[in-house]
């Protein structure tokens, strides 16, 4: 009996609820009811809503990507410029420059790459085209700085090896008795052989050649010195001794050539850095 009364109450109340329901809610109920009756409609409605949301997200994503591309590149330029200006305060400037050059090189390699989802926009939309072009301009400038710094660090690494090679040779000479001409000659010949095998940067090739030619001159002079000493020919001895000294002064050309070629690398680095 009680169950029946509840049904009656529910049935009696239904028209009253229907009369007072909001329009949207009524529509919602009708749509739900319709979807229950026609499942394909439900699918269409759901698909349309999802498509609308995805389209919105895609447009937002594209605007965000292209809008930030050039400004991010410009910010990066400013950051790099600031880092370059602070290099002089580093304890190990060579390592700092090397680290900076490598990180800039790695960072800017794919600087202007964007997601494949929106990359085609630069062929179709002017705004994307301009943003990409601007980004590539920044990328080139940063890339040029990175390259010129890498040239310098590579050169210095090679030059330090060359310098160590010369310093080692100087140490051997200093420990050799001055009157032992044969041993001096042998030491210089070993220096030539090792110098020929030494791998140097192309900018140091001229200095390397100067080292070899000067050393060859010194070896030849020691040959003459040894012969003159053996034959007890004083004039020949003097000439050979003077030639050995001349050979030493010819080594100065290494300085000349290394500073000149390095100055060119520095000029290039400064020139590229000034565009940041």
């Amino acid at each position: 009996m009680a169950t029946r009364e509840r049904i009656v109450v529910f049935a009696a109340g239904y028209p009253m609820i229907k009369r007072t329901a909001a329009g949207g809610e009524a529509m919602y109920r009708r749509v739900i009811a319709s979807c229950k009756r026609h499942p394909w409609r439900a699918l269409s409605v759901t698909g349309a809503v999802l498509l609308l949301i995805l389209s919105g997200v895609y447009v937002w994503y594209s605007i965000n990507i292209w809008g930030n591309l050039a400004s991010d590149a410009q910010s990066e330029r400013k950051i790099i410029r600031s880092k370059l200006m602070n290099i002089h305060s580093q304890d190990q400037p060579l390592e700092s420059i090397k680290t900076l050059a490598e990180s800039v090189h790695a960072d800017t390699k794919h600087f202007c790459d964007v997601s494949a989802l929106v990359s085609w926009h630069r062929h179709s939309f002017d705004a994307a085209k301009v943003a990409h072009k601007e980004c590539v301009t920044h990328q080139r400038k940063i890339g040029a700085v990175s390259e010129s710094l890498r040239d310098i660090t590579y050169r210095i690494d090679r030059e330090l090896a060359f310098e160590a090679h010369i310093a080692s040779h100087q140490g051997k000479l200093n420990n050799t008795e001055a009157s032992d001409y044969a041993l001096h000659k042998k030491t210089w010949q070993e220096f030539i052989d090792l110098t020929q095998k030494l791998k140097v940067d192309s900018s140091l090739e001229a200095a390397k050649k100067a080292a070899i030619s000067s050393s060859t001159f010194i070896v030849a002079s020691y040959d003459q010195l040894i012969a003159a000493d053996k034959a007890e020919k004083r004039a020949e001895f003097d000439a050979a001794a003077a030639d050995v000294q001349k050979g030493f002064s010819m080594l100065g050309e290494i300085q000349n050539l290394s500073v000149e070629s390095y100055a060119k690398l520095v000029d290039t680095a400064q020139s590229t850095a000034s565009t940041l």
Binding site: F162, N256, E260, V266
Partner: protein, 242 residues
């Protein structure tokens, strides 16, 4: 003489001419270079004469001088090359260009100078094997970042004489009582020496005469001032003279 073509660590930082704030400092980058300083540490050997040599010296000293004199004349006759150079100025210079031209020519052709290699120097109106530039101090760094306003310099075929040094020598030179004319001899011989293919040299020992390619304005290292090339400096890779 000090010049920054082969001077590893430049004292004055040359910054970008176009940028208000320097991005990279020249002095910082130059300080990475160690090779030039190490090469300068080569100690030119001094040979202790063997006993047989000393025995002969007393008897043959005079003959040897004649032989050397003859050998020098033979070298001069065999070479006889004329090196040409042009003169120009950079910026606003205060020196008398006529006097500059005349004194430079005298120095280059002086019998105590590079002319001992059997070469002569001739000024030409333009072109020439090298260009001798009298430059306002502030203009010197425009030739290369390795050059500074302080010193003279050599960049490629440009032999740049700093007008401030030409007119006033250097503090170290003046303090030692050296004459301005000798300084001018030295600066011309030193910078032209770079063009001839020379780098910097160190003093060979206390009391010795300084090589002209030594940076005499910085430190004599115990040597005595010398504006002229030593016998051992008479070579030129530029001219193929050994």
């Amino acid at each position: 003489m000090v010049c920054q073509v082969v001077y590893g660590t430049t004292a004055g930082a040359t910054l970008f001419a176009t940028a208000a704030t320097p991005v990279l400092q020249t002095s910082q980058l130059n300080s990475l270079q160690k090779l030039p300083d190490t090469v300068a540490e080569f100690a030119v050997p001094t040979f202790e004469r063997p006993a047989w040599y000393k025995k002969q010296v007393a008897d043959e000293k005079k003959a040897q001088e004649i032989a050397q004199s003859n050998a020098r004349k033979a070298t001069q006759a065999a070479t006889g090359r004329i090196v040409t150079y042009s003169l120009s100025t950079a910026g606003a210079t205060s020196s008398d260009l006529g006097e500059f031209s005349s004194q430079v020519n005298q120095t280059l052709n002086d019998a105590r100078g590079w002319a001992r290699m059997g070469i002569g120097f001739q000024e030409v109106a333009s072109g020439g094997d090298f260009n001798l530039v009298l430059s306002e101090a502030s203009q010197v760094p425009t030739f290369s970042s390795a050059c500074s306003v302080e010193w003279s310099c050599r960049v490629g075929v440009s032999v740049i004489i700093n007008d401030a040094r030409w007119t006033g020598a250097s503090a170290a030179w003046n303090a030692s009582g050296g004459s301005l004319r000798d300084y001018r001899h030295m600066v011309v011989n030193h910078e032209v020496g770079h063009w001839l293919g020379h780098g910097h040299l160190n003093c060979t020992g206390a009391g010795q005469v300084a090589p002209v390619m030594q940076q005499q304005s910085i430190d004599l290292q115990g040597c005595t001032f010398n504006p002229w090339p030593l016998e051992s400096e008479l070579w030129s890779s530029q001219l193929g003279i050994q």
